[in-house]
Every structure is written in C-alpha cells, then in structure tokens.
Symmetry: C2
Subunit: 361 residues, 2 copies
Amino acid sequence: MNNKLTITMKQFKYIFLVSIFFSIFFMSCETSEKETQKETQKETQNTQTAITETDPLPSWNEETSKSNIIAYVSDVTNTESKNFIPIKDRIATFDNDGNLWSEQPIYFQLFFVIDKIKLMADAHPEWKTQQPYKAVLENNMDELMKQGERGLLQLVMATHSGNTTEEFKSDVQEWVKTAKHPTKNVTYDKLVFQPMLELLQYLRANDFKTYIVSGGGVDFMRAFVTEIYGIPEEQIIGSRIKTEFDYNDGNPVIRRLAELEFVDDKEGKPLNIQKIIGKKPVFASGNSDGDLPMMQWTASNKYKNFMLYVHHTDSVREWAYDRNSHIGRLDKGLDQAINDGWTVIDMEKDWKVIYPFELNN
Amino acid sequence: MNNKLTITMKQFKYIFLVSIFFSIFFMSCETSEKETQKETQKETQNTQTAITETDPLPSWNEETSKSNIIAYVSDVTNTESKNFIPIKDRIATFDNDGNLWSEQPIYFQLFFVIDKIKLMADAHPEWKTQQPYKAVLENNMDELMKQGERGLLQLVMATHSGNTTEEFKSDVQEWVKTAKHPTKNVTYDKLVFQPMLELLQYLRANDFKTYIVSGGGVDFMRAFVTEIYGIPEEQIIGSRIKTEFDYNDGNPVIRRLAELEFVDDKEGKPLNIQKIIGKKPVFASGNSDGDLPMMQWTASNKYKNFMLYVHHTDSVREWAYDRNSHIGRLDKGLDQAINDGWTVIDMEKDWKVIYPFELNN
C-alpha cells in the first residue's frame, strides 16, 4: 500500500471544506427524527397528483421552472427557430451532490469513508490505538474533528487509494448495496431526485448529451451511478487522485495513489469541461456556489443557453439550506441567478415528489 | 502573456524526444524529392483497383489484416456469439500521429510551432536577436538544436500558451487551411490515411465509439480533426497544458498557461483512458512503442479484444521506419504484436491507397 501523503494548497482548501461537513453532520442528526415524521405526511399529500403519460416532466408542478425548461428545449430543438442548436453541440452538464441526489447531512461519499474504515479495521489492528482511525472506530467525532484536515485526508486516502481501479470499484459497489442513510434509512442510491431523473431523460430524448460534472470522486460515482441516471461512465466527470499503470507481468492494473490530482469544483468545473469535453455546455444545472463558474461558462455560450439552480427549500421532504450553509452553500450563485434571470427550482413548490420511492407510496 | 517556465522530469523526457524529431527532420528533407517522384508512380498503379460499394474497407487489399478486422467485428457484434459485446462497451481507441495520418519528417504539430513563430515575429522585434526565436526566423537549424530542450519548450509555449482556448483554436484553424507539408506539398489535413478513415467508419457503423488517444496536443487536434475523422471533440484525448478560468467581467475565458499538465504517451495513454473514458477499450490501434501500454491495457479486457499496429513499410507512397526510428519507433511493440498474435498492417502490401486524394487520381 502506498500511503505517502502529499498535500498542496488546493488540497488543503478542499479538505478544509470537507472537514466542515463532518461537523455539520453531527448537528443535523439531532433533528432527524422530527424531519422523518413530517416527510412521511408530505409524501402522502404529493404523490396523489395524477401523472399523465404525455408530460415529459410528470413529477414537476406547473410552475415557472417547468415551463422555462420546456420552452427552452422546444425552441433550441426546432429547426425553424433562429435558436436551433445542432445535435453535436447539445451538451448538458449536471452537478451531482445536492443536484441529482441529496447531500445532507454530509456528502454521501464521506459515509463511504467512515463505513469502509470500520470494514478495514480487522486487517489493521494498529488502528485501535492510532489516530485518526481510532476516533472513527470509537465513533468519537470530537476527537476526529481534532485530527483536522490532515486526519481527514488520511482517512480518505486509506479508503480510496493503495488499491487498483477494479478493487476500488468493487468496494464502492459492495457498500452501496447495503449501507443506509442515517436518517432516511434507505440505501444511498434511493436518494436521487425523481424530477431530475425525468429532466435527464427529457433532455436525452431531445438529443442532448448529459454529463455529470461533480466535486465527488469520479471513480466513486462511476461505480454505481451509470445505472441510476442512465449516464455512461465516459460522461461522468469528477475529482480524481493520481494513478499509475503497472504492466504486472501481463495482467495490467491501474493503481490508485495517495495524492489528489484534480479537484472538480468551482473553477475546476469549467476547466475540466474544456479538458474533457472540449465544448461549452448549452445547459448547466447545479445547486451551490461551487457550480457558479460552470454556470457562468455556460451562460457565455454563443448558442441560447439555460442555467438551472436547485434551491433546497423543503425542510420536510428533503432539507432546506442556502446562503448560510456550510455544505452546498448557495449565496453568490443565487444572487447571480436572480440578477441574470436564470431558472431557480423552488424544491418545495416545484416538485411533486423528491425521491422515486415516493411514487409507489 | 504568461511565459513562466516550469519544467518537470516528465516534461524533460518529452522535450528531449521532441527535439530529436527536429534533427531527424533536416536529415529527411534531403531525400524528399526522390521520394515524391516514386510516390507519384506508385499512386497511379494503386488507385486503378476497383472499389465495390458493399465492401466496408474498399481501400484495403484482401490480406490478413482486413480479414482479421472483419472477422472480429462480425463476431463481437453478433448477438448469437459467445463473444458478443454490448454496445456501451464497444470502445475503440486510435493513436493519431503515424496511425491516422502521417508523422514524417516531424510531428505536424511542430510545423505549426515553426510557422507560428514566424507569423508572430512582427509583434516581437526582440526575437530577431533572441534565441531560440532568432534561429527559427533565420532557418538556422544547427543553432536551434544548440538551444536544446529548454529552447524547444520556449517555442512550444510561445505558440501554445499565453492566449485563450478560443484564440488558440483560431490560430490552428488558420494554419491548417494554408500551411503545406514540405515534401508532399499539400495541406496537412490531406495526409490522413484513407484505409483508416474507412476503418473508423466501419467501426462506428457497428456501434463502436471511436476515440483518438494521442501524444499530440488535445486542443491542437480538436481545432480541426473532428471533421476529418468524424470524431467529436469529446472523443479526442491528448496531451495538454495547464489552464485557468477567468470570469473576465462576465465574458469568461479559459487561459492557456506555459506549463505542461499531462503527456498522453506511453503509460499516460491507459491512465488517461481510465480518467476520461473510465472503461477499458476493446479495440486499440497504434503505430509505435508509445502506444504499447494502451495495447496491453486493451488486451487485458475481459471481452474479446483487438490490437492493431500500423507498420510503416512503404518508403515510396509514405515512409518506411520501425525499430531504429527516432520518431514513431516500433520495436518492443512489434515484438509483442508478433508474440501475442496482434494484427500488424503491412502498409505497402495491405493498403491500396494511402491518402484520400489518391482516390481521385
């Protein structure tokens, strides 16, 4: 196992943010039971609305966000329109955490880190007395916080590196099958947003190429989200760690190294879009200030473009947070959205259901 | 203009190789006229062969390389076959230089560097007395060689960075429209291999997703090869320099910085394939040892796979070189291809024509 740690300024900034999410986590858990009760009531109310087959966005209420989306797609796919966009340039980019699925009380990838450390502990008896592992194994979060960014990076690297791409994929797939969200009490793959699944499908039906562009780990996402979102591996873009190729006597592997290579957040999003896609999106969707540069880049497209923000306004069915949140903070982005006339989804008002399982209730 | 130079070990290795190509260039030019004469004779002989409409590879002679390709594609796309590959996993990766177009006497991207320095000289009067620019402007290649790797990197960065992605794209597009190959005397975009164009088309007709995975600059290629090969920008992978996002008061740009970020050669190829595509190819095509790790990675696919080497054996119509060449060296790769039963194209014997313009002769 390669556990060498190399920390750059950029990584420090990233880890600092991530560590804040941990602390938020343990505040949020206190209110979780109350939320679950309210949630159940609201779900019942909302799923009674009839869903027609001809409606491309059946889980969306007839509000401005829905009509804006349909007006845009109808316009740019109409060959008679001056705003027509050739199919090859219909690039749509979606943030993942907080945009296609929930991100509270902490990014779901961090639950994987915690769970995986516990799973790995048998093979690492030294962790019983060694920080930051000891704190995780004892569920001692005060102590874990004291370990700071460096401690957190150690945990991330212990669970994300020192293995091959195939081994890591299998780790994540095993986890997602069984691990459950602490307050929603379902596996994490159930916590995707039904209205966004419909939007992805609607765009693809209109020959848009849908991409995920997320701050989350690209190999973490690729292990399981392709099926959920209908987005192939090659259209998933995210943060990544360094890797090395090993011919391995004719059984080649790619080994994951304990060093961050690229953080796909803020300015990293348009940069990665240019590096990997090489085209400016015409449609971008996000939920936080971390998505703002991607939105700004999209808004500068010569083609008619569409910027969509998910505003988390539903404290009952999901979570409510924006300008003052430490996770998924939406502050400057909200100002620019209002100022520039971008579409902002009011989750509480605009969405009939949040999660796919509500459709069956 | 940002002309700060940062050189890592990897960049040194890259630049060292590139500088060798320069020296090769000036050796090769001496024999160019003789070659051109022979070329004309041979072209005439070869284009008289009839091309039938039902043949997916009409510019290929009925040799083993053609029958191997057709047998493979027929097998893995046959739903009744035990070797059937689902469409989503039909990833085919192609090297560019020496594989989809010629690469002699130097990589064509280096001609762009030389031409562009000359174009930029008016705005840089100081270059008249300043190396390595002076050597380029005076066509003094002995002096240029003395400037070594550092000099070459300065030239590359002067022509590839300090501008925005849009400006660079327009530079390359302008160049490719007018610049001509020193011995073939046609614009560079004419020097693509007709048989490979047919192979790309044949694979796509069978639902393979075709990618370029090249040591060349990704933004250099994207500026003009999409049309030529029918490969969209997002399926072009290559070497790249660092970039930065600038909101630029509401007119966002991505600026190209004078620092290499990733060299997409040798082990870099499978690493970049994993980073960007996230799937192992089932079909890989290259022409040099720089492609060998990509071939090895492909050969380890659980699906039936196909490794294809272009062997430059045609000193008359194209160029002949392999084990001892400083550019496009094919030595270890040729050994492994022979040993492992990969398909090796004998360009002289297997291809009826080399370039598309020969079809009209």
